[in-house]
Symmetry: C2
Amino acid sequence: MTLPPGLEAARRHREERGWEVLADFIDLLRIPNVIGSTGDLRRNAEDLAERFRRREAVMEVVEGEGAGPVVIGELRCASPTATLGVYVHYDGQPVAPDEWTTDPFAAAIATAPWHEGGTTVDPPGPGDPIDPEWRIYARGASDDKTPFAAILAAVDALAEAGIERRIDLVFLFDGEEESGSPNLGRYMTELAPRLVADAWLLCDGPVHQSRLPQVAFGVRGYTGFELTVYGPDRELHSGHYGNWVPNPAQDLARLLAGCKDETGRVVIDGFYDDTLPVADTDRSAIAAMPPVEETLREELGFAAADTDDPHYVEALLRPTFNVRGLRAASVGREARNVIPAEATASVDIRLAAGDDPHRMLDRVETHLRNQGWHVLDREPTPEERRAHRRLARMVRDPGYRAVRVPMGSALAAELVAASRTASGQEVVALPTFGGSLPLYLFEDHLDAPVVILPIANHDNNQHAADENVRVANLWYGVDLWATLIGSDLGGLAKSR
Amino acid sequence: MTLPPGLEAARRHREERGWEVLADFIDLLRIPNVIGSTGDLRRNAEDLAERFRRREAVMEVVEGEGAGPVVIGELRCASPTATLGVYVHYDGQPVAPDEWTTDPFAAAIATAPWHEGGTTVDPPGPGDPIDPEWRIYARGASDDKTPFAAILAAVDALAEAGIERRIDLVFLFDGEEESGSPNLGRYMTELAPRLVADAWLLCDGPVHQSRLPQVAFGVRGYTGFELTVYGPDRELHSGHYGNWVPNPAQDLARLLAGCKDETGRVVIDGFYDDTLPVADTDRSAIAAMPPVEETLREELGFAAADTDDPHYVEALLRPTFNVRGLRAASVGREARNVIPAEATASVDIRLAAGDDPHRMLDRVETHLRNQGWHVLDREPTPEERRAHRRLARMVRDPGYRAVRVPMGSALAAELVAASRTASGQEVVALPTFGGSLPLYLFEDHLDAPVVILPIANHDNNQHAADENVRVANLWYGVDLWATLIGSDLGGLAKSR
């Protein structure tokens, strides 16, 4: 099989100038990037802008009123066949240096993970061998500065080989992702004319646990509510009043039990009505994934799944109803013989494609009303407590919808093919991540599909001490990006 | 209607020497009696023994190894018709003097409750009028030193009037009641030959909220358990694993909902099988009680009872299944999007007469097993977590059984009649208190029925700041005890 020229160029570049790619990356990692440290984050933004400018990109650091800086830019080519948007974030989670083996911003190179006996090696120079199993330790090494290094090296590789790029790139580098990107929607609205792309790639997250490359074509949405049901207006002596005064903990148990049947299926009317059906292309993708169910079950220490789906990813294509917390009076040493005055459940609902957060919460509320519950969105008054035997307070956390790109789309096919070509391996094409990310912002503000294209190893200690990236994963990133920008992506622009 | 001579003597004594009764009582209240203060409690014990010795009782302070002192004794008469055991406790709950209007051991007299504008009055001297609405404020004033004052004054009244007592009294004064009487059973076993009586009177607690006198012919028993059900072996991300990994909070809700139906009836097999049926005499007693349901419901702030019983006391004659606490992960501001690793319910079961605590817990456990739960009495091992989809830990708190004296018994009839005579009012004859007290000790160790004979007003601030007794209630106690010990109690001894 002939390799695409872009990929060949990337491999040659890595072999000849890999030491330089690492050196540049280490320089970037040495700029501290902890959330909230405004000065450091500005330095990251300026440094990144400058790096891309040196590759002839047009870059700008934009800082809105009361918001952290974003970096936007574009790297055009002579005859583009498509435009890809590239979203990466440069901020990192806080660090507790005492818990790290080396300084979080030293960007030490280790021969292997520390806990597997890795030892420090000096950054390589020209001609020095580079072991792909090396790890680079730094906050941001995997979450989420790797894509910067990969894209920059890929651009260099093609330039060096004299290969013309075929894809325009538009950049959006976030400095507030670890704070929940509170200003991202605003930035997108304001900057939309400069962020036009055929598709956006969210370059974050890890590849598959099997070390196979992974591309994810969706995320679950999120909504939820906290529900408090009421008994007497104070805790009562269970001896004096037990059997006579209603117990809100018992009421809450019945209420929750009435939301889901024994097979794990939610019985709230209409709960699954809006969910997009699982497509044949989804099923094929899922069937092609390496089986992890039995290993996961062992590792997570439980006896049997809550569903009959043979592949756990199938369960992610339906909305959930998850009791994330329960509370009534006290248990354990603090338990007292009382009838609790109230009982609370906190519920999160992961949304599948098609589900609307508000409509979902409406359905829950209707379900409660149909069962005779008087539902408020605030604390009840004493009069209301005396008037309604079934009285509940529902506090909504609306959240946001899921996002999916069809597995059968040209975009999905092109990205999976590029990943397969670049890695020479099978690719895990994930119909959706289980987790939630506000990818709807890309659809709403930038009117473009968005796909998650991870590079980092799964064992990267993201958010924790000793965050690291495996060099082989960085190399995969370089190869992938060179493959992408050196190809025409099958005329992606026309497929929109 | 002619008054019994004992009662006439008591009234005369109160009129002529009421000031002295109060002065003596105040002296007793001025001896601090906070639980754990060994020296103070010994002073109380010695003082009480001495007071009864002055009335020709034979008294002894007994102090077992590692236990607080009890006072035992006997006050015999020439030709007794029966023997009554008298249980009173002299210890009191801790005090927070800052929260009290007057020093907790000053035993101040007020013209009315402080919060109704009461003001201090000096202790009365000979000939001074005494308002029965006065309150005496002190720790122990109502819980539980009033019976001492009442019995001593009753004995004096009969002696002064030259009336022969007809009842032998046997005393057991506890100094550890507020600590749960940990040594009472031991003392009873050791001292049983000196504590022989036809019936015991537990002289504690308040009369009815309507201010009518009250006699209670039982207490509920108590048992309970804490149940933890297990999910994955750590909290899991609800996005990654929701719909696939079982949620123990949902499981617990279903489990609890399956223990009780919508009408509040427990559906655990055999739950009500051992409970003694409600007798006609119970029903008559309940029907004769002043209706309090509507007032209580308003005061406690709930909409409707959990039962169809028209009288709430009827609900106390069945065992309860009360979820006193619930806990899984977190709610409110600490709530996280997780599948909890475990969920816990703390349940207390109040027992009615006939119920056996151990058998009750066995039934709960059998119910769980029948529903497919694997029940342990300890933390599960990782292997057990992987082996059993329904896995629970049940920690038993066995407690003790209920105690009842039949409402139709001679003892019940005599005590209600004496109370009615002494007060000149209707008497609330309560088939059982809702709360639990270890009265089984009297049955097991002293082989005698036990009845609760309260004197104190219901608004006595028991256990709290500004504990008090209403003088009218003390006077009722004097009259009641003079009536009792001056009568032959209808040949109670023979009725055993």
